[in-house]
Subunit: 141 residues, 2 copies
C-alpha cells in the first residue's frame, strides 16, 4: 500500500521532533506546504489527525505575520504516564456510557494534558487525585 501525502508529512514532522532535544518544533504551515507541494490546509489536516493530545502531542500556533505552528511531544515519567492514561481511558469510558458529554470530555482531556505538561511533578499527584474524585462523582449512579 502506497503512502499518502499525509503519511509522508506526518513522518517528516516526527523525525524532526525526535531529533530535537526538547521534542518540540516550530514550523511555518505555508512553508511546509510549499516543501511538499500541497495546499496549506493539508498541513492542518495532518496535524489535527496525527498530532492529537491523546497521542501525546500538544500544538500551539499563531496567525498573522511571522506566524507559526509549534508541536511538542511531551514525555512523562512512567508512573505519571500511567496515571494520565488511566484518566484518559476513564474519560473515554464515561463518554461511552454517556455519563459525560463530548464537550465535557474534551475540556477535561485538555485540562489533563495542560496540567500534566506544565505542572511540577509533586503537584501532578494532587491534581490527579482531584480529577479522580470528580470523575468518580460522575460515575456513580
Amino acid at each position: 500500500m502506497k503512502k499518502s501525502l499525509a503519511d509522508r508529512i506526518e513522518q517528516y514532522l516526527k523525525v524532526l521532533i525526535e531529533r530535537t532535544d526538547d521534542k518540540q518544533i516550530e514550523i511555518q504551515r505555508s512553508e511546509l506546504a510549499e516543501t511538499f507541494g500541497c495546499v496549506p490546509s493539508q498541513v492542518t489536516y495532518v496535524i489535527s489527525t496525527r498530532f492529537t493530545e491523546f497521542e501525546g502531542y500538544l500544538t500551539e500556533s499563531r496567525r498573522g505575520g511571522k506566524g507559526f505552528v509549534r508541536i511538542t511531544r511531551y514525555q512523562l515519567e512512567d508512573e505519571e504516564n500511567a496515571g494520565r492514561n488511566e484518566l484518559m481511558t476513564w474519560i473515554d469510558e464515561l463518554l461511552q456510557e454517556k455519563a459525560i458529554t463530548a464537550s465535557q470530555g474534551e475540556i477535561l482531556q485538555h485540562l489533563i494534558t495542560c496540567a500534566f505538561k506544565n505542572m511540577p511533578p509533586e503537584y501532578r499527584k494532587h491534581l490527579f487525585k482531584q480529577l479522580r474524585v470528580v470523575l468518580a462523582d460522575y460515575t456513580r449512579y
Copy 2:
C-alpha cells in the same frame, strides 16, 4: 525559527525587568524604538499585547518632555478563596458568551469546588494557574 520584532522587544523588556530588584523598569518609548529600528507605536503595541494585567504586569506612562513608560511585574497573591471566586466568575462569563457549553461549565465548577476544598493551599496556586490556562484557551471573543 524566526522571531517577530514584537517577540524580540518583548523578550528584551522581560530580561530587563527580571534583572531588577523591584521588577520594575522605566523606558523611553522613542528611544527603544530607535534601538530596534522601528516606529514608536510598535513599542506601544508590544506593551499592550504582552504586558497586560492578565499576564501580571502594570504599566504607567507620562507624555511630553521627560516622558516614560514604566512597567511593573506584580506577584499574583494566591489567596485561596479569591482565586476560586475569580475562576467561578470567569466560567459564568464564558457561559454567557457561549464560549463553553453548560455541561462544560458544570464539570469545571464541580472540579474547582472539589479541588479547592481538598487541596492544600500550596497546591491550589498551581491548579489555579492551570485552570486559567485552560479557560484562556476557551476565551475567544
